[in-house]
């Protein structure tokens, strides 16, 4: 009798548990794979998803093309993924896809850029604030005067545009004696393109005091060019994002600062929101507006970079 009960209980477990442990498929569609930022978000998400063996994450490399992201969104909708984490290339281009996904019951959480179409949530680095923080700190370092240049994002990249807007706003409001004497965009946010642009700035401006590159890759490129020209000690170079290599260069005194964002934590927060949604079977949000969570930036300089713990460096 006892044996029968045990066998019956075991059978119940074997039959019920698989039915309960549903497999979830989560799509991660950043602008491109392999960038420090997008890798850090993924690692942050995986730190949470690894606790759930029934969650499978598939990454899609959009190669910085909105039309590819649209294709991938169509595909994951057709394959009935359970959730989508999207770093949209463009707020308008991905709107129709986000709408279609949520209409099919797939919650969409965007990273850094919310689409025009409302969706479940958006977890963002406060880009304008980041640019403003850079401007504020750089201005202090320059003593409120001097010529500065900007290495911009690819045209139309809202992330970079917002950072630049914040930077220009800070300069205009706080440091009227600092002149922005040049701005040029680097295709694909690439370091090697930033080197070329910086070389041009160095040749055109004998008295250059500061450079704001709207991401760390490009800031490192500017640093390489300035160092090769023997003018690194005269120029305050700032980036944004806070990737590990840039933090190391700040500690060495080669880069003046960056607007740091804990991308691991950002990714983990997104994953927790996804899991809550999946486990409670909430589906797409029915709220009138997208829930936006903005992560304030941290201006990391040589004096403050030590506050960023090793496990938070990505």
């Amino acid at each position: 009798m006892k044996k029968t009960a045990i066998v019956a209980a075991l059978l119940c477990v074997l039959l019920v548990v698989p039915a309960v442990a549903q497999t979830y498929k989560v799509a991660y569609i950043p602008q491109s794979i392999g960038q420090p930022n997008t890798n850090a978000w993924l690692e942050g998400m995986m730190r949470v998803f690894r606790k759930y063996p029934n969650v499978k994450v598939q990454s899609f490399d959009a190669q910085l093309k909105a039309e590819l992201q649209v294709s991938y969104m169509d595909d994951v909708i057709n394959q009935k993924y359970d959730a989508i984490v999207l770093q949209a290339m463009d707020a308008a281009a991905l709107s129709a896809s986000v709408k279609a996904a949520e209409a099919k019951g797939i919650p969409v959480i965007t990273v850094n850029l919310a689409t025009i179409q409302k969706h479940t949530a958006s977890v963002q680095m406060a880009d304008i604030s980041a640019g403003y923080a850079v401007g504020k700190e750089m201005g202090k370092q320059l003593g409120g005067k001097g010529n500065v240049v900007i290495i911009q994002s690819p045209p139309g990249a809202i992330l970079g545009v917002n950072r630049e807007k914040g930077f220009r706003q800070a300069m205009a409001e706080l440091y009227p004696n600092i002149k922005i004497v040049g701005a040029q965009s680097a295709e694909g946010w690439k370091k090697e393109i930033a080197i070329t642009i910086m070389n041009g700035f160095l040749q055109a401006n004998k008295e250059l005091a500061g450079v704001f590159a709207v991401n760390d890759n490009m800031a490192e490129g500017a640093m390489i060019a300035a160092e090769a020209a023997g003018r690194l000690d005269q120029i305050k170079i700032w980036g944004a994002n806070g990737q590990k290599s840039t933090l190391a260069l700040i500690e060495q005194g080669k880069i003046a600062g960056t607007a740091y964002n804990n991308s691991f934590a950002q990714g983990s927060l997104i994953a927790e929101m996804v899991m809550e949604n999946l486990q409670k079977k909430l589906g797409p949000s029915k709220a009138a507006e997208t829930k936006v969570i903005q992560i304030p930036p941290f201006a990391a300089t040589k004096e403050t970079v030590g506050q960023i713990a090793a496990e938070d460096r990505w």
Binding site: A66, Y72, M89, A91, A92, G156
Partner: protein, 337 residues
Amino acid sequence: MSHHAVRRLILVGLMLALSALITVINPVFLSSGNLLKLLQEAAQTGIVAVGFTFVMITAGIDMSIGGVVAVTSMVCINFLHYTKVPIPVLVFLSLFVGALTGLVNGFFITKYKLPEFIVTLATRSILAGLALVIAVKDSLGFVQNVYIQNDSYLWFGTSGLFGIYRTTVAFLILGVGAQIFLKHTRTGTNIYATGANPTAARLTGIDTDRTTIGVYMFSGICASLAAVFISSRMMTAMPELGLGSEMDVIASVVIGGTAFSGGVGDVWGTMLGSLFLALIKNGILKTGISPWIQPIAIGGIIVVTVIVDVWQKKLREHLEARAKLKRLSAERGRDAA
């Protein structure tokens, strides 16, 4: 059966086999939603590829197609953002952009005998810059991607009867029309003749310069048409839209059997090639293989296709030479007798 027919049969067979394999791995592949999207993806590349086919048959190449897509989409965005021009007029203006680009390409290629690759690459660069210049900007001068809300324009990117996307329908109509034009008109014959042997074509009275200009204009028009459908589907356009799509277009045409050497190929092959390419890309996503494999797969397919083409051509020439030799021997034997 001609070798083109054999090649086409092999391609269709391969597509069916791949479709079966992908369906076994992921049954979602055969869902109506997925197939309709696959056809739409094929059509987006295929519309451009139809025009490119004409150019390749003349032994030319058009690297400006990506630039045409970019600048056409910016022209559309500007008109939609700043004016209330009727959509049919807007579409006509869009096609005019492509035709004008083709005219410029063809002019420099024929008048100054410049290499097609260089001319069209230069045009691409100019158009890419022009797209940035004319892109809609905000008050601070930053490029602003406009959200299209004009229903008449958005009509192009949506689906119609039985859920079939209008892009797909346009591709089919364009493909059928282009094939009929190529195979059943004098101009079509001239296009083949210009590609096969331009000197001989000129000697027979064909105006090869006019033919060349014509095919580049048609290629530009097709690229502009694709821009309308793509920007409509995305409900916006970026200055870099279409740049980098040249590989996919070339792959579609080459897989379909049109040779770089000119004089051979047709639109049916290109349409199959576009479908095959879309199937490969869609299949890679369905099977969970890394999307990074896609460009490797596409490059590999192009190489294999070209190798097979060269091998087939050599085999055909070898067999023809053997048959000729056999015939000559038989005739000599009869004469001796």
